[in-house]
Amino acid sequence: MSLLRVSDLRLGIGETPILKGIDLSVDAGRILGVIGESGSGKSMTALSIMHLLPTGTRPTGSIRLDGQELLDKHDRDMCTIRGKDIGMVFQEPMTALDPLKTIGAQVAETILVHGGTSQRAALAEADRVLGRVGLPADLFPRDRYPHELSGGQRQRVVIAMAIAMGPKLLIADEPTTALDVTTQATILDLLRRLVDEDGMGLIFITHDLAVVAGLADDIAVMRQGEVVESGPTGKVFRTLAHPYSRALFEASSHVPVRDPSLPGGEPVLVVDQLVRDYRIPPRRLFGPAGTFRAVDSISFRIERGENVGLVGESGSGKSTLARAIMALEPAQGGSIAIDGEAHDAKEGASLATRRKLQVVFQDPYGSFDPRQRVDTLVTEPFHLLGREAPQGDERKRRIATALENVGLTAADAEKYIHEFSGGQRQRIAIARALIIEPSLIILDEAVSALDVSIRAQILDLLAELSDRLGISYLFISHDLSVVRSITDRVLVMKNGKIVEQGPTDEVFRNPQHPYTRELIAATPNLERALATRA
């Protein structure tokens, strides 16, 4: 008999159906990977199991844990089940912990809530559980606060809280999405080990096919509130019976078609011995202020039409480097030149230089002023043209061209940004970057927040624009598979230094630096995961 059996689970918010008859089952000691894009209802399914749905929603159907029906349970009874029989791990380890409580107290709290032990015994138990998740007491004392730990270590604390009572079922909702790849790999190992040791069932919710392929025993593919395909991982990936699963699979390993003719010619961007220091507060009163070197003597160049990838984990200095190139922050040494024109050390870049450089950000929801219309948003860079900025009909024509270039229509210019989806917003961001015909576009994690199918479309669009308009990209990302698919050359950054650079294919096939090797090994790889299964 299955540990958890969800059958015909239905849920609506207002008139809109969210879940349309979900059937899932998880066995003890096995991992069920639930995959789907945003809006597929995967998080809502998890919240239904936990009875943590927003007020006003009433699920119907049946959720049985160990033969016990959960759906009719009163909230009071659910409190004894939540945390004891079912544990949950959330996506964002930064907000899932109380910043004012020590990690030992937070884990002990779960144990105390479910009663039966003294404070002292609960703390001792918390010690043991934290040790199990890889935070041994001699290295990580219990009186540490969350802010003293790294993202991965915090996620371990969250996992410790979830497994403290030895639950039968653990639900993990995108637990590694906010983490670096090397950290992600260790957390995935930890979850696998805990499942094997405790024989609990794990529901692992994610949008990342590669992660699921390497981890899960069974898979359920969700789309618009329905499970379109489910079964053992190996079998699902072999057959891909449903067209949506197939589309998802293809989008995940999508490589845009690129013009093979090599880019070349004059350099668009030349960075020479760039140094960026941040001041840090003095250690003692009136002591000398320290500095932190975020970018340490970096040199590289990008040629016209060339796509260069910049990879590295959080804190490696990628974004700082990007901000220096955009002349948003002053550099403390070295030089940056765009199309042969160097940034001024004091004034930053002139309008003429800025004209050649545009940027697309990661968050499609935060990168637009919500109070302006699309035509105003898209023409923002016209500010750089000063008096030469197009007016009247010419302006309209340029807006229409920019929007049509990214697959939208001229009529979209009169809408407000909230009328667009995430993928469409990212297209508008690209239109905004394109409108003054720059030589270089910095793409700062530009596709990281998008669903895989949308991401494939945007990558195609970027590749096509680069070939057609001869634009160069500096493609900043932590996602190695994306970088691999779209760039000609790649720079690997660590602790403010470029540790390796070279043609993308060569670097990925034959990494020289140990850090590059570590990164590539830690990146979930769909093909590799499936190969080891077969």
């Binding site: 945003s38 809006g39 998080s43 006003g56 959330f90 996506q91 909702d173 995108e174 955009m326 948003l328 309008l351 800025r354 450089l357 545009q358 940027v359 950000f361 990661q362 968050d363 929801y365 935060g366 990168s367 637009f368 002023d369 919500p370 109070r371 923002e380 860079p381 500010h383 750089l384 407000y416 909230h418 009328e419 961001a429 905004r432 927040a449």
Partner: protein
């Protein structure tokens, strides 16, 4: 989970007005405020009697058809005084808040744009200095130099309002400066002043409007307080605070002289506070969600 946490900053047009009309506190507050503003405007063209005309034989009359709110110790018509007083109270509060917004908001925006520089420090510490003195103390300071008058009351209350709006604008602007669309504007080469006006200001208007309604009601109270101690409008110009002060010795004899201007202050402040509460709910998408 990402799709759940996204909160639209701006509701689609049209729904904002209908949301406003569905909010009971906003509608009640707006009606009460509109009545007082309407009466104040009416006093420019019509009052039942001349508010300053003395009629000693008919002094201290109670409420009647002839004198709706009775007469005071000099036989002046209280209703006429109340509606002309509304004019004074509202004008003083309005101009004072306008002064606060007009000076405080640009200062706050400037401080946010120049974050962590000497300008930021200077502006904010100067604000702290002003905040350290109660409004009444500032008013006494000013009037001891320039003499008591409605204008000086306006200046005193206005000065007190500046740091309120400076702090609020700075705090709201700082969180916006961290957003990507501001970064995009900087990449487009826009200067800090221009970004503050084109992007920051429209996005903090919600917050400012709510604060304006609250400061407006505080302004009316402050004017009443200043007039009560004799530092506001000078005779014969009536104001609610002065009417209260004048009625003090006659409370036992003619209680309506104290009750009527008192009630006027209470209802105006109440109306404005309700309106502010309602506006805050309407502008906050999270509160909207929980209300549905």
């Amino acid at each position: 989970m990402a799709e759940i946490s996204i909160v639209p900053i701006e509701a689609p047009r049209g729904t904002l007005l209908s949301a406003a009309l569905r909010s009971p506190s906003f509608v009640t507050g707006a009606i009460v405020t509109a009545i007082f503003v309407g009466v104040a405007l009416l006093s420019f063209v019509w009052t039942p009697y001349d508010y300053a005309a003395l009629d000693i034989p008919h002094k201290l009359r109670g409420l009647s058809g002839e004198h709706w709110f009775g007469t005071d110790q000099y036989g002046r018509d209280v209703f006429s005084q109340v509606i002309v007083g509304a004019r004074t109270s509202i004008a003083v509060a309005l101009i004072a808040v306008g002064l606060g917004v007009g000076i405080g908001t640009p200062l706050g925006l400037w401080a946010a744009a120049k974050r962590d520089t000497i300008f930021d420090e200077l502006i904010m510490r100067a604000n702290d200095l002003v905040f350290a003195f109660p409004a009444l103390l500032i008013a006494i300071l000013i009037t001891s130099v320039a003499g008591p008058s409605a204008t000086n009351a306006v200046i005193a209350i206005g000065i007190f309002n500046i740091p309120v709006f400076a702090r609020l604008s700075r705090a709201a602007a700082l969180s916006l400066w961290a957003r990507d669309f501001i970064l995009a504007a900087r990449v487009a080469g826009k200067g800090r002043a221009r970004i503050s006006i084109e992007h920051i200001l429209p996005n903090i208007l919600n917050t400012l409007v709510v604060q304006i309604t609250i400061q407006f009601s505080l302004g009316i109270l402050a004017e009443a307080a200043l007039a009560y101690v004799g530092l506001g409008a000078q005779p014969p110009t009536p104001s609610w605070g002065k009417m209260l002060a004048d009625s003090q010795t006659l409370v036992g004899l003619a209680p309506h002289l104290a009750i009527i201007p008192g009630l006027c202050i209470v209802f105006t402040v109440l109306g404005l506070n309700l309106m502010g509460d309602g506006l805050r709910d309407i502008f906050d998408p999270r509160l909207q969600r929980s209300r549905q």
